[in-house]
Each structure stands twice: as structure tokens, then as C-alpha cells.
């Protein structure tokens, strides 16, 4: 059975259909805009994370405890290749690669610079890193030759070398001994990551172990795979570490705290913009509801005279707001889902994105995220703001006295 306040609220809503439809349309527009922007933003973050992790870091890494905070050479993973194999078996994932890291002075014929040397497994590295696909000159490590190196483009330019030139590497080994070698450059990569292009070189892991006296150890086992499967992969990797107390499994948020913080900061600032939009809609709703209450002052007087209490009148106004806000929210979510769904299938692009994607081996289209966290927060915020906006007319109405209200025109 329709109760009194609901019936009246419903009839009042449709008293001015154009005004009602415009109010709902404003909410729907705000909802769709918020869903689209939030979906695009979350999709962008996802892409940013995936691209950042895909270049070198991987989804997670096994390291010696404390290495991530203080990367001393001696903090290594013993029998690293066997452990990597065990992780591959347990996670049923081939994207597991062993690495060693060292710092050294790197000299060309004319210059000497400090750099980070990565020892990588040429067989598995392409499965955890997109770096092998970012070679701009020469080639990547092919695993056939032991003594070769690839180098970041900025570092190559600073050292004034090209593929075919030789580099002298001088550093300190894991046991404190001198680490030195001369190695030919076979390729130059351009990752788009300023630090990597300026600071990093990669050589085969076996060579790295020989040069830096690493034995069978390594500094990290990088685990790739899709982020959606991260929990399952982590479970498998943890099982492989069950009896290895000195080793830890670190997720990407621990490995790249800067990326996480940057995303959080960007997200926070974006919400200020969203808040402005939500507040604008709320004021629009406040205006509608206040007009609707003020123009019905005489009617409220009739209702009060007939024995309707202020509480029931308040409920009627809340019901009117709730019907408008709920209708706007549901239609907004529906249209918003269709819009982001369309761009999820077809991708969203802007000028220059395709060229950038090609250059840095990243997707050339952006796909918005379609999930509860992209579809619901915006419309829910608009809904809540709208309901809050209805409080002012209620407070105004609560002060009404029947005789004063009946005198209103």
C-alpha cells in the first residue's frame, strides 16, 4: 500500500516534470562524468603500474631480508637458480628470473661514470621485463656469448659509445674483492625511464657472478605474471620460501613506494576536482528542493492544519529527494557503465599516445577500469550530497507555523 507521504512526494515530484527531468539530468550528467573520469583515472593508474612494473621491477621479488632497504652486495639469495626453478614449478609461471645488482665505475675511451650493473638471465629476463624489447641500437643479450653488455641510451651518450665499443667496468665484488672486466657493448636501450637510461647496464648473470664473485647467489628473483593473479602467485612463491627465513617476498608497493605515493597524491588532488563537481550538483539540488518547498508553503500549511506533523512533512521532502537522487544515481550508473564499457572494449586514445606507445613498448590506448570502485563512489557521493542538500529545506520547513503557512500565497 502506498503510504500518504510517499504518494504526496511522488505527485509533487511530477508536478513540474521539466524541472524534475532537468534535475535528474544534472545528476546523471555528473554521475556519468565522474564514472568516466574515475574509470579513466584508475585505468591510467593500472596502465602506469603495469608499464612501470613490466619494464624491470616485476609484480614481486624475492630478496634477502633487508636488501630492499639497504642493498649491500653481501645480502644475497643462496642457490638462487634452484629457488627460481622451484618458484616456477609451484606457481606454474615461466616469468621468474634471477638477477644480481652491483655498482661500478664504467669507463669508455673518453669518459668514466658511475653506474648500476644488472646481471640478468637472458633466457628468462624477457619474460619479466620489457627492456629487451626497447633496444634502439644493436641487440639485446642473446645468451650465446658470455661477455657482452647492453646500456641505457643516456649513459651511452654520456660515455660517447655505440654498439661495438668496449667498456671497462671496475667495482667491488660480493666478498670485497675487486670486480673488473672489459666487455663489448652489443645494444643500447631506451626505456623512457630517466634513471634506467642514465644509470643502468645489463650483462649476462653468469658473467656478472664471475666478475662480482657471486657464486650461485643472486640479489633478487623477479616474478612477473598478471596482476590479477598476483595473490595466487604470491601464495606459490611463499610456499617455496617456507624454510628460508632469511628471504622475503616483496610486492610492487614495497618495491616501488614512490609510484604508489605518486598515485595516491594524484588521486587525492583529482578528488578535489570531483568534489567541486559534486558540490555544484548538490547546490543545484538544494535550489530545486528549496524552490519546491517555498512554493508549497501554503500547502504545507494545509497539511499541518489537517494534522500532518512536521516529522511527516520532513519525511515527505526526504522521500522526494531520495526518489530524485536514487533515480539519478541508477540511470547515471547505467549510462556510465555503458560509456566506460564502450571504451574498455574500444580503448581511449589522445593525440601523441600512439607514438609514445610505439616508442616505449607500452599500449597505445588507454582502457578505463570498469569495477565497483570506478562505478560506485562518484554516484554515491552525488547521492549523499543530494540528500544532505535536502536537509536545509527541511530545517526551513520545521519552523513553519500553520497559520503563517496558510497565509503564504
Amino acid at each position: 500500500m502506498t503510504n500518504t507521504t510517499t504518494l504526496l512526494a511522488w505527485r509533487n515530484i511530477w508536478r513540474h516534470p521539466r524541472r524534475t527531468l532537468l534535475t535528474i539530468a544534472a545528476m546523471v550528467f555528473a554521475d556519468v562524468l565522474l564514472i568516466f573520469m574515475l574509470g579513466l583515472q584508475l585505468g591510467q593508474y593500472r596502465m602506469m603500474i603495469d608499464n612501470s612494473l613490466a619494464i624491470f621491477t616485476g609484480q614481486m621479488q624475492v630478496q634477502a631480508d633487508g636488501y630492499n632497504d639497504e642493498p649491500y652486495m653481501y645480502r644475497t639469495i643462496p642457490a638462487a637458480d634452484a629457488l627460481a626453478e622451484d618458484i616456477r614449478a609451484r606457481t606454474q609461471l615461466e616469468a621468474v628470473a634471477t638477477r644480481g645488482y652491483g655498482f661500478a665505475l664504467v669507463s669508455s675511451e673518453t669518459r668514466t661514470l658511475g653506474a648500476q650493473i644488472s646481471g640478468v638471465d637472458p633466457q628468462f629476463e624477457p619474460r619479466v621485463s620489457t627492456l629487451p624489447g626497447l633496444i634502439k641500437q644493436g641487440r639485446y643479450l642473446d645468451g650465446k656469448a658470455d661477455n657482452e653488455i647492453v646500456i641505457g641510451s643516456t649513459l651511452a651518450r654520456n660515455l660517447r659509445i655505440e654498439p661495438g665499443d668496449e667498456l671497462t667496468i671496475l667495482g667491488s665484488g660480493r666478498d670485497g674483492s675487486m670486480a673488473a672486466t672489459v666487455t663489448p657493448v652489443v645494444g643500447i636501450y631506451e626505456s623512457g625511464n630517466r634513471d634506467m637510461d642514465r644509470m643502468m647496464l645489463s650483462m649476462p648473470l653468469d658473467t656478472f657472478r664471475d666478475v662480482f664473485s657471486m657464486g650461485d647467489t643472486a640479489h633478487s628473483i623477479v616474478i612477473g605474471g598478471e596482476r590479477e593473479r598476483a595473490d595466487r602467485i604470491a601464495t606459490g612463491a611463499q610456499a617455496a620460501l617456507a624454510d628460508k627465513d632469511s628471504l622475503v617476498l616483496l610486492d610492487w608497493e614495497t618495491l616501488m613506494p614512490g609510484l604508489k605515493q605518486a598515485i595516491q597524491a594524484d588521486f587525492t588532488s583529482a578528488w578535489f576536482m570531483y568534489a567541486v563537481l559534486i558540490i555544484l550538483v548538490a547546490f543545484g539540488m538544494l535550489n530545486t528542493m528549496l524552490m519546491s518547498v517555498l512554493e508549497r508553503t501554503h500547502e504545507f500549511g494545509i497539511l499541518l492544519a489537517l494534522g500532518v506533523g512536521h516529522g511527516k512533512l520532513g519525511r515527505m521532502i526526504v522521500t522526494e529527494s531520495a526518489v530524485l537522487a536514487t533515480t539519478g544515481m541508477l540511470i547515471g550508473i547505467l549510462i556510465g557503465a555503458v560509456v566506460v564499457g564502450y571504451y574498455l572494449v574500444n580503448g581511449f586514445t589522445y593525440p601523441g599516445m600512439e607514438a609514445m606507445g610505439e616508442r616505449f613498448n607500452i599500449p597505445s590506448v588507454l582502457r578505463p577500469e570498469v569495477s565497483l570502485r570506478s562505478l560506485l563512489p562518484g554516484p554515491l557521493a552525488v547521492f549523499l550530497a543530494t540528500m544532505l542538500a535536502s536537509l536545509y529545506p527541511i530545517l526551513h520547513m520545521r519552523k513553519l507555523r500553520p497559520t503563517e503557512a496558510l497565509q503564504a500565497v
Binding site: 492544519a305 489537517l306 500532518v308 512536521h310
Partner: protein, 230 residues
Amino acid sequence: MNNPAVICHKVDKTFQQGELAVHALSGVDLEIASGGFVCLSGPSGSGKTTLLNMIGGLDRPSGGEITVADLRIDRMRMSELAELRLHHIGFVFQAYNLIPVLNARENVEFVMQLQGVAAAKRHALAMDILEEVGLKGMEERRPGELSGGQQQRVAVARAIVSKPALILADEPTANLDSATAEKLMQQMRDLNTHIGTTFVISTHDKLVMSYAKRLIKLHDGKIVDDIAQQ
């Protein structure tokens, strides 16, 4: 013997208009018996509507005591007054005051709906009363689709349908032609005679006064005459 339907004891009402205090009612003493059919008459500004509003709990007196249905309403909270109006008092206003978004039947059902009367029962009662006031066939029309006289009959139907003990009518015939006014007064008087509903009506209309069992004349917020009529 029944208790009086309304007792006013030394009722004052002062409105503040800027720095000017306007005494709308001054020391009004009045007792209206249950089943009475009373007219309040007097020139504009004499306090008729103000007194009606006080008795109906639509406004509070500045001083004095008002008792309706054995309850001291001058001490009641707003919510208690609303309950009293809902269950004991029916109103007929000069300007009809129907709810524009509801049709004639829904307007008549409205008070019963608030009182919690079952849908089927209130529907049947509303249809009967609308037929009684000559609006059969117009039940689904909204106020805007009815003439002034028809709207006033809907307002009367709304006031009497739940058979309140007291009906307060403020200039009920002011916007009606004489034939419609006569018919309306006849219906009110019938209700008074057959059910015993107490009527308090403010009016300038001689026709309305002729139906009254008791005529109270007000002037400058004071009762100046109180005449029993046949």
C-alpha cells in the same frame, strides 16, 4: 450531560507588528456545548478567524486557557496539537485549501489515510460522502478541474468524512453563489442534527447566521453579543 466541546477562559492574542502590539483577542470567555452550531460574526479584524485558529490549535494564545475535547490545548506541543487536529477537529477554509496534487476522492481520503483507516473502507466512505455532497462522477478530478463551489464541497466532505467531534469553518460560503451556499449550509446543519457534530463557523454571511443555533458577535477582539437562535 456532555462536557462542553470548547472552553475559552480569558483568552488573549497579541500580534507584534514591528513595535506595534495589535490585540486581536482580549479576555475572551466562551463555552460552546457539544452539538452546538455556533456562528462567530463581526467586522473584519474583529478576531473571528484568530479565535477559530486558537480553538483549532493552529495558533497559540498569548494568554488564557483553551480546552477542547477536555484537553488544555494552550499547553500542548506542536506534535500533540497535530494529533488533536487529526483525530478530533475538521477544518473548512474560506479558500477551500485542497491539496492540488490529489484528486477529489484522494483529498477526502487523505485525513482517513493519516488516521490509518483501511484502504477499502476509506475508499467506500469517500465515495459515499462525495455522492452526498453532489459530486458523484467527479471523484477523480483534481481541484483545478473543479469549480469553486465544487471545491468547497470537497473541502466539507474532507472535514466531515471521519466524523470529527468539532468542525471549524472559516467563511465557508464566501466564494460560493447563494444556491450552493444554501445547499452547503443545509448539509452542515443536517450533520449537526443527525450526528451531533459541533460546528463553529466564522462568517459575514447572513444566510450562514440564519442557520446558527447561537450567534456570537465579536468586535475589536471582544465578545460583544451572544444570542441563542432557533
